[in-house]
C-alpha cells in the first residue's frame, strides 16, 4: 500500500512538472512598459525615482530578450517606497560615486483588458542606477544595477 502511494506521488509530480503550463510571459515577444505607479507619494521623496525605476524595468525587459513597445502585454512597477542613503553615508564613501537605495514595490504584468497576470513583490537594498564603471563593452548597454538584476530574475521566472 505504501509503495503504491509512493508510486502515485511520483507519477503525479512528474506529470505536473512535464505538463504544467509556462509562465505568463511564455510566447510573449513584446512588452509595453508603462509609467511607474506611486501610491504613497510621501514615501517616495526622490523626484527622479519613478523614471529611474521605469528605466531599469525597460532595461530588464530588454535584457530578458523581449522587445519593448506597443503590446497587449504590459508591465509596470508599483513603487511603495524609495529611499536613498543619507549624505553622511555618501561622504563615508569618499567620492566612490556609488549610491545605495532601498526600493520596495511590486512588478505587475497585465493583459490588454487590464487583468493582472502577475504581481510580484520586490524589495531591493542596493544600487538602482547603472554602474557603468564595471562595463566591458562601450557599444552595448552597461551592466545592470542590483534592482535591474532583480527585475530580470523575476521576468525570467515568469517566462
Amino acid at each position: 500500500m505504501r509503495r503504491f502511494h509512493v508510486l502515485l506521488f511520483l507519477a503525479v509530480t512528474s506529470t505536473a512538472s512535464f505538463c504544467s503550463p509556462g509562465g505568463v510571459l511564455e510566447n510573449v515577444r513584446k512588452i509595453q512598459v508603462d509609467p511607474t505607479v506611486i501610491e504613497q507619494p510621501d514615501k517616495v521623496k526622490d523626484a527622479a525615482a519613478a523614471n529611474l525605476v521605469r528605466y531599469d524595468l525597460r532595461a530588464a525587459v530588454r535584457d530578458g530578450r523581449f522587445e519593448e513597445g506597443d503590446s497587449p502585454v504590459r508591465a509596470h512597477f508599483v513603487l511603495d517606497e524609495f529611499s536613498s542613503e543619507g549624505k553622511a553615508k555618501r561622504l563615508i564613501g569618499f567620492g566612490s560615486g556609488h549610491s545605495t537605495n532601498t526600493v520596495d514595490g511590486r512588478l505587475v504584468i497585465q493583459d490588454a483588458s487590464g487583468k493582472e497576470l502577475a504581481n510580484v513583490k520586490i524589495h531591493v537594498h542596493g544600487s538602482i542606477a547603472s554602474s557603468p564603471s564595471d562595463g566591458n563593452n562601450t557599444q552595448g548597454r552597461q551592466p545592470t544595477s542590483d534592482f535591474e538584476r532583480r527585475l530580470l530574475e523575476e521576468i525570467e521566472r515568469l517566462k
Binding site: Y55, G95, S96, S131, P132, S133, N136, N137, T138, Q142
Partner: protein, 286 residues
C-alpha cells in the same frame, strides 16, 4: 504714475546712502531738487541698462576670414566672394557670413575665432551697424538638425570609475528634469548618445573595440553628444571640478547644452534676433 513711483523707490533706496537724515539748515526746495536729480540719474541708469540688454542680438552664420589691412568696413559682395575657410593667413580678419541672409559682419572681442573657422556658429553680441562689426559676447558651434530633431538619448558613462560613477545618475536626473528626451536603455535605438568620461573623447565610439583603456584620473568631467551611427561628436565641453563635484559638473554641462539648444531653436537659420532678458524674439523675421 508708475514712473513717479519708481523714481520715489529709487530715491528711497539711494537716500540712505547719501545721508542718514535731513541735514540741519537745508531748505525744502533743495531737498526736492536732490530728489529730482537722483530720480533722473536712476532713470538714465536703468534706461542705459535696458538699452544695452536690447542691443545684444543673436546671429547665425559661418565663420570665415578675409585678408586683413583693408579697412574696417567690408563690402558685402566683396567679403562673401573672398571669404575663405581654409588655412588662416596672418593678419586675417574673421567674419560671420550668412549667405541666406546675405550679411557679412566682422567679429571682434572673441579670444579664439580661429578655432571655429569654417564652422556654422551662433554668435551673441552687439552689432555696430556703422562699421558692420559684432562685439562678441559669446560664440559657439551651431548644432546640426539631427540634434534639434532628436527624441531619445542614451546615457553612457565611459571610463567612469570611482567618483566618476556619480556622473550617470546626475545626467539621468538632469535629463529627467529637462523632460525633453526619452532616456532609453537601448543605445542602438537612441538618436543621440550623451557620453560622459574622465578622459577626452577620441571620436571612436562606434569603432572602438571594448572599453577605454586609458588611465583615469578623476579631475575633469567631459561630456560629448555623439551620433550613435557615426561616432561624430556634435557638442562637447568639460569642467575641471575635481572628483567630489562630478555630479555637479555633469548637471552643469547638461544645463549648458540645454541653453545652447534653446538658443538654437528660437532663432531660424536666416534670422537675427534681439535678446531681451533671456527672451529671444526675431528682430528681422525671415
Amino acid at each position: 504714475m508708475k514712473g513717479e513711483e519708481s523714481i520715489g523707490q529709487v530715491f528711497g533706496f539711494a537716500s540712505p546712502l547719501i545721508q542718514s537724515g535731513p541735514l540741519p539748515g537745508r531748505s525744502a526746495p533743495r531737498l526736492r531738487m536732490r530728489k529730482v536729480i537722483i530720480g533722473v540719474a536712476g532713470c538714465v541708469l536703468f534706461g542705459a541698462l535696458g538699452l544695452a540688454a536690447q542691443s545684444e542680438m543673436i546671429f547665425k552664420g559661418k565663420i570665415c576670414w578675409v585678408p586683413g589691412g583693408r579697412g574696417t568696413i567690408l563690402d558685402k559682395s566683396q567679403a562673401t566672394a573672398q571669404c575663405s575657410e581654409g588655412r588662416v593667413k596672418r593678419g586675417a580678419k574673421f567674419v560671420l557670413s550668412n549667405l541666406e541672409n546675405k550679411t557679412v559682419y566682422q567679429l571682434e572681442g572673441h579670444p579664439k575665432p580661429k578655432d571655429l573657422a569654417g564652422n556654422d556658429v551662433v554668435v551673441i553680441g552687439t552689432l555696430d551697424k556703422a562699421t558692420g562689426t559684432i562685439d562678441v559676447a559669446d560664440m559657439f558651434r551651431a548644432l546640426p538638425p539631427k540634434v534639434t530633431r532628436a527624441k531619445s538619448v542614451y546615457i553612457d558613462c565611459d571610463a567612469c570609475p570611482r567618483g566618476m560613477a556619480a556622473a550617470w545618475l546626475a545626467a539621468f536626473e538632469e535629463l529627467t528634469e529637462w523632460g525633453r528626451f526619452d532616456i532609453t536603455p537601448e543605445p542602438r535605438k537612441a538618436d543621440l548618445i550623451f557620453l560622459l568620461s574622465a578622459n577626452p573623447y577620441l571620436g571612436d565610439y562606434v569603432t572602438r573595440d571594448g572599453p577605454d583603456k586609458r588611465p583615469v584620473a578623476v579631475d575633469i568631467t567631459y561630456m560629448d553628444v555623439v551620433d550613435p551611427n557615426t561616432g561624430e561628436s556634435y557638442w562637447d565641453d568639460s569642467k575641471q571640478w575635481g572628483a567630489f563635484f562630478v555630479a555637479r559638473a555633469t548637471k552643469d554641462l547638461i544645463a549648458e547644452f540645454r541653453e545652447e539648444l534653446d538658443i538654437e531653436e528660437r532663432v531660424p537659420h536666416s534670422a537675427e534676433s534681439s535678446r531681451v532678458q533671456g527672451q529671444y524674439s526675431p528682430a528681422f523675421p525671415p
